[in-house]
């Protein structure tokens, strides 16, 4: 199996789907000649031509709105928004059309499309380029929201998203586009949207994360084990909505403790929803409050200080110890 980084793995998923399904189209700002500002769509225009890979004018509402129209007409658009901070320009099209057209048309028109966007901090970017607001979409009925944490998963998850008959928000943790490589099989792998993964088995506490936060969370688990003898179970949420409550509940019922980790603002974030679901499904087993290690309710700071801002393994360890010693 070839080793590749997440950027390449995503590119592979796009390429294979464009090749196997003539109704798949790719669109967005700079996705054509340029191959995308993160090079995720590199080479696609050359291989599939301008009717399949479309450079869009600079207008996000236009991109999402027209993508929904294409989906209604039977295409399967994969629309890129250059940074998740610009998805707000398309918010109304996402809420009013992408999330609703299938419903509004009582099933007549499927909206089989994917909105890809890089999200999250860690690449020393300017204002608006480091945000994590996946919670907006998890709060919006009609969508599915998924986030990969590494190359192999990214490929199978994007493949699944393109094959899903419903509109999928696909957020890509830009900090790890090129951070590490994994073996990715040539043949597409299946993935069931809606399923979380236990990526490390443990018995003392459950750590829940996704996207770029998986790495510090796994580091924290190592540290907890090595330094404190605490065996943490780590869950990669992957699917933000639907959320795999069952896997969360099973783990916390076993460990009795949990920490949820994400980059986005705390209030009404994914962490709040995780806490609420654990509260509802595993209350009797809880031995400590579920802790949130998250971004704060402030704007993402300018990049010179972002490393102080983002959740790190230390913060996860600290919260885990608090929970264990509660």
């Amino acid at each position: 199996m070839p080793k590749m980084n997440m950027a390449r793995a995503l590119n592979l998923a796009l390429k294979q789907n464009l090749a196997s399904d003539p109704t798949v189209v790719v669109m967005g700002e700079d996705v054509g000649v340029d191959g995308g500002v993160f090079r995720i769509t590199k080479g696609l225009l050359e291989e599939f031509g301008p009717k399949r890979v479309m450079d869009s004018p600079l207008a996000e509402a236009g991109i999402i709105g027209t993508a929904v129209g294409m989906a209604a007409a039977g295409l399967k658009p994969v629309a890129e928004i250059q940074f998740s901070g610009f998805t707000y320009q398309a918010f109304h099209q996402i809420e009013q059309n992408m999330a609703r057209l299938h419903n509004r048309s009582r099933g007549r028109y499927k909206v089989q499309m994917v909105m890809r966007a890089p999200y999250g901090g860690g690449i020393r970017a300017v204002e608006h380029h480091s945000e994590s607001r996946e919670a907006y979409w998890a709060h919006t009925p009609g969508l599915k929201v998924v986030i990969p944490s590494g190359p192999r998963l990214a490929r199978s998850l994007l493949h699944a998203a393109i094959h899903d008959p419903d509109p999928v928000i696909f957020y890509e943790p830009k900090a790890i586009y090129r951070a590490f490589k994994e073996e990715v099989p040539e043949e597409p792998e299946a993935f069931e949207i809606g399923k979380a993964r236990v990526v490390r088995v443990g018995s003392d506490i459950t750590l829940i994360a996704y996207g770029a936060m998986i790495r510090p969370t796994l580091e924290a688990a190592d540290d907890l084990e090595e330094t404190h003898g605490i065996r943490a179970e780590v869950i990669d949420l992957i699917s933000i909505w639907p959320m795999d409550t069952e896997t969360l509940a099973a783990s916390v019922s076993k460990t009795g403790r949990a920490v949820v980790v994400h980059e986005g603002p705390r209030s009404c974030g994914i962490g709040a929803e995780v806490v609420a679901r654990i509260n509802e499904s595993a209350f009797a087993h809880l031995e400590a409050p579920v802790a949130r290690v998250t971004g704060y309710d402030i704007h993402f700071p300018f990049f010179q200080v972002e490393r102080f801002y983002l959740p790190d393994s230390e913060a996860v360890v600290e919260s885990a110890l608090e929970a264990v010693n509660y």
Binding site: M54, G69, A73, N97, L101, D166
Partner: protein, 369 residues
């Protein structure tokens, strides 16, 4: 080098064929055949009659808030007249007349406006989008459908209509641009009915005609007398033909007037004068067309009476059917959320909802599970 005035590549034409007395410009008259003329006339009468009927129903508490189209019958039916069933129509919410022409049943429209989700069961055999109440937001969608026709190599075209108010929404400008850049087979119809709720066109924008937006985004524009069915048919046909033959998009402004309230929840006397309405009554699209038909012998008093009673009967039947269908179906609110299987949490929510619903419908208290 010096200073000089430059003009865009595309121009805007003004078109009107019928005058207020129902006399047609002989050269421009599209010379539709008798059957077509009568069919169009009947459709216009039906739209207006249904409007009136539904206002009455609304006043009697038998209908939800809705947006009457009185005065805009020519603009609407003229717009969709030349579409094929396999073409796409992406209507705005005030499009009764056009929707019926496309095959929407009367009971269906009544269901829709009386708050039944079943009202959006789309007619088979035509490619219409369900409208969204959100101003302008269907226009990018229509543009995307048109772009898809190019990708897929079909010869279908898309037609979408929206109001003068909608023209101010960023969505509409973005769509004009996308359509022009992609040379998409789409016809944009702005039904300028003079008002966006209470805001008169003069305060919506500083320009005199929305058609002037066309050359600013790279497509031909037309300003058409929207109360003149012959002009609407001609202009739209020209645009549809151009789109179908690869000539790209067109923006048509249909200049018309909203003769009724914005919706049945609105009181227009607060913001506009009666004499403005009266002025437009003289330009009524139906009576102008009637004069033309009478003069040309296509219509006479007896045909007119027959059409009126046919329309009445059709609406009566539609209303009957509506009354039979109009049973709140609270069971289905979770349906159609996803094309794939419902995710487990949503199934759980649905069960929760259905359990509560059953108790409510049975008039019972909820009991904790």
């Amino acid at each position: 080098m010096p200073r000089k005035t430059i003009v865009p590549e595309n121009t805007v034409d003004e078109l009107s064929i019928l005058d207020e007395e129902g006399r047609a410009d002989a050269e421009l008259d599209p010379k539709m055949d008798r059957d077509s003329l009568l069919k169009v006339y009947q459709a216009m009468v039906k739209a207006r009659t249904l409007d009136d009927r539904m206002i009455t129903m609304q006043r009697q508490g038998q209908m939800g808030t809705f947006a009457p189209g009185r005065g805009q019958e020519a603009a609407q039916i003229g717009s969709v007249y030349s579409l094929r069933p396999t073409d796409w129509f992406a209507p705005s919410y005030r499009s009764f007349g056009a929707q019926m022409w496309r095959g929407w049943a009367i009971d269906q429209l009544m269901m829709l406006w009386d708050g039944y989700f079943e009202g959006f069961d789309l007619p088979e055999g035509i490619n219409d989008l369900p409208f969204s109440i959100v101003i302008g937001c269907h226009v990018p969608l229509a543009t995307g459908v048109a772009m898809a026709q190019t990708c897929q190599g079909t010869d279908s075209v898309v037609l979408t209509n929206f109001g003068d108010g909608a023209s101010s929404e960023g969505d509409v400008s973005e769509s004009l641009n996308f359509a022009a850049v992609h040379n998409a087979p789409i016809v944009f119809i702005c039904e300028n009915n003079g008002y966006a709720i209470s805001l008169p066109f003069e305060k919506q924008t500083k320009i005199k005609s929305i058609a002037h937006r066309a050359p600013a985004f790279g497509m031909p524009g037309m300003r058409v007398d929207g109360n003149d069915i012959l002009a609407m048919v001609s202009a739209t046909k020209e645009a549809i033909d151009r789109a179908r033959s690869g000539g790209g998009p067109t923006l048509i402004e249909a200049v018309t007037f909203r003769m009724e309230m914005h919706t049945t929840a609105d009181d227009p006397t607060v913001y506009r004068a009666d004499n403005e309405v009266a002025r437009w009554t003289a330009r009524d699209p139906i009576s102008r067309f009637e004069k033309y038909l009478l003069a040309s012998g296509v219509l006479d008093a007896s045909i007119k009476t027959r059409i009126a009673s046919d329309v009445d009967e059709e609406i009566r039947l539609g209303r009957e059917k509506f009354k039979q269908r109009a049973k709140p179906n609270a069971q289905e609110v979770f349906d159609y959320m996803y094309a794939a299987d419902m995710p487990p949490e949503l199934k759980a929510q649905k069960n929760e909802y259905l359990r509560k619903l059953a108790a409510r419908l049975a008039g019972k208290k909820l009991t904790p599970v």
